[in-house]
Symmetry: C3
Subunit: 316 residues, 3 copies
């Protein structure tokens, strides 16, 4: 693997999931692989799981980690070409990416979308500029449109927990007071399209994700109908895609409660976290045995570790 920008960077999905599950059993078995290698973790946004699990994964591979919180620690970055930089930005991505590439063997980046400039977000502005001007492998720790480390952790979790060869998986929108990105929903959708599952998306009408992502995945506007006989319920809010970045619906009837879960096949409840309790999901569901959100978060370590392992092997 030469980089991990999107799940399309995974060639053989089965193999990488199996390898992640092996690493989970023996996390230090490749501790020599990352010796004398440095990963730079660049955060433009808040992070808990990603921050910790990626450091953990890197350390288990014997790597050094350097964490940078842009904004707080370093300089305001300019991404536009040809700008006269007499405003608030102090350093151009051209220099920043090239310079960081010299100190780090791998660069991992978290950079959320603007949710105001659709074109810029869809172009993966920040991530692609780091790729363009950097010279080392880039790992996506959640970008404007994708969260592939999360999707891989989700795939590992479903693989570990599924009880039938082809489980039914439902991605459900749920309400949220703030405008949230599409990244998690996009990457989960792409991942499910590649797995041997019966995959359905449910959300209020008008909340369609990018059709280039959903393609021919069935969309069911009736949540209850979608949930019927489901084995896994994956819940996530996203802001409107057409009225880009707007919150046009806050319907609490979409909040996941026992009522919704009742029609499933004893489905497991999944969410990438952080989750707003009693807005996205009722306490009664997330506190029940159906919830596997903690196991999911744990798999973030092994999804990061298998990706870093593959990239380190490619660097050799």
């Amino acid at each position: 693997m030469k980089e991990y920008l999107d799940i399309s960077d995974i060639n053989n999905l089965h193999e990488i999931i199996d390898e992640a599950i092996s690493l989970k059993k023996a996390p230090y078995s490749f501790e020599e692989l990352g010796k004398h290698k440095t990963i730079g973790l660049l955060f433009f946004n808040s992070s808990l799981r990603t921050r910790l699990s990626t450091q953990k994964a890197a350390q288990q591979l014997g790597m050094h980690c350097i964490v940078i919180n842009f904004g707080a620690d370093a300089w305001g970055l300019e991404f536009e070409d040809g700008t006269v930089m007499n405003g608030s930005t102090t350093e151009h991505i051209k220099e920043a990416a090239a310079v960081i590439s010299q100190y780090c063997d791998i660069i991992a980046i978290r950079a959320f979308p603007t949710l105001t400039d659709k074109e810029k977000d869809l172009s993966e502005h920040v991530l692609n500029n780091f790729k363009k001007y950097g010279s080392v492998p880039i790992v996506n720790m959640e970008s404007a449109t994708a969260h592939p480390l999360q999707a891989l952790a989700d795939a590992i979790t479903i693989t570990e927990l599924k009880k039938t060869a082809k489980p039914k998986v439902v991605l459900s929108w749920a309400p949220h007071p703030k405008a949230l990105p599409h990244a998690v929903a996009n990457s989960f959708t792409k991942m499910m399209q590649r797995m041997d599952v019966d995959f359905v998306i449910t959300h209020p009408e008008g909340y369609e994700l990018n059709p280039e992502v959903t393609k021919d995945t069935p969309i069911v506007y009736d949540q209850e109908e979608a949930f019927k006989d489901a084995d896994f319920i994956y819940v996530k809010n996203w802001s409107n895609y057409k009225e880009y970045g707007k919150v046009v619906n806050n319907d609490p009837s979409w909040t996941i409660s026992n009522k919704q879960m009742a029609v499933t096949n004893n489905a497991k409840f999944m969410h990438c976290l952080p989750v707003r309790r009693n807005v996205i999901v009722a306490d009664e569901v997330i506190d029940s045995d159906a919830s596997v959100v903690i196991e999911q978060a744990n798999n973030r370590t092994y999804s990061a570790q298998v990706v870093l392992k593959r990239i380190l092997e490619h660097l050799k």
Copy 2:
């Protein structure tokens, strides 16, 4: 030792002090013990000594450290049960504690009190929620009501420096412009109650600490009388406990100067730091040979190290 929330988690005080003094002489002698173990240091508040000394201690035991500054780096945490989380908090402690427990073998937490909600502070709201919902040992890096790593460092310092079998130790209040927590004073008091010392507390009337902490420790409202023949003067401001979190006295005559020290038995001056010079203590005292504040701070490393060592041994 299975956790370190309060000094009551220490069984054999003599033994742990002796072991800390041994570690000070050979800090890398248990470097293999923490191999492949990760400690997460969670800061909800500023920290210098605790931040550095706990990292140092962990590294000397061969552990990996991951530092998280809540607020700046991660998500706003919700601690209340059953809340509809449609406000400013983004993640519930139930998930946060469970998730961090999967990435870290030990979690160390600094979380100061509100000083406005007495009941919440006394319940050790943050610390106990991490304990309740987490699944790994918790180390208290200063909580609402306790600072047991400081108290252990203080006990080490007094043990190292005492010249008589049963020295006289005085805890004295001193003025401060801002409302400060009771944590240091509480833990020092509890620690002195367990040591073979003649222990007295002095403060202006009305500044009594929690009586459940002070118990039958003599309280002397006349600072000069309290200081007579003292071997150790431990100074600390705390805000009012009855009029909870209020600053009701700023009397500069309580500031420690040579005049106060004159009646002691050449007492050592102690303070946990940071200290406001010429408010808590006059330059002439803290700059004199009587001051042992730097040695005290140094012992923070070994108090943390002996605690982490004991917890690591318990994890095996």
Copy 3:
């Protein structure tokens, strides 16, 4: 080397440059030297290159790194003697420096000037107080008046790239919207004065640097004349020194473009970064083969590493 506050701490410049170039070829050849040693990186200001390259250098020597962002992570520091600390500062440098010295074997500090209090800045207030009250070697990661790690990286870069025995090197002022420190220009000037180069400074009249730094270095007010036949053009803005810290000139004709470079001897373009494009330098120059800013930044690792190596050897 017992500390690195200024380039005057370098005895044999040739030797240290050669050693840095050797370390660049085999960065892990002294990995045992820093074993069980801790460096504390103290940032009072933003940093990208310094933050990363100094961590990288320390890790390549096998050291532990602890990073502290003052302001965000720790307490407000008081530097004045005898103050009654009842205001916004919480900890005196006397304690802070002494305490950090006990946790760290080397302390590296970044502290920019006020640019309002000339006397305070010239006294190297922050750095010298850490030196005065600390007890371990101090490394200057850019102080009020000096950036010696940058100057050493610059010297390494010129040594690697020069094509003649005695190249012509020009330090040129360029415009910038904000008041910037003199540190980089000062240290570069001092470094060039010690190297076997033909060194000239060019800037608008009235923008003279501290004459105690420039000494008898030729100053040419005509940028074009200064650039003639130059082999290296080193560009940097600095605020006015006489009208201390003021921006009294923003003349865009001083921005480095192809026109300026045309009269040079195919000069290499150098800048310490971060650089404001099309203010300090036109895209056409920094994007051309003449630009060596990325190589320069890379050498920051080896300038830090050779300095840390020398200090570690001195500590033994």
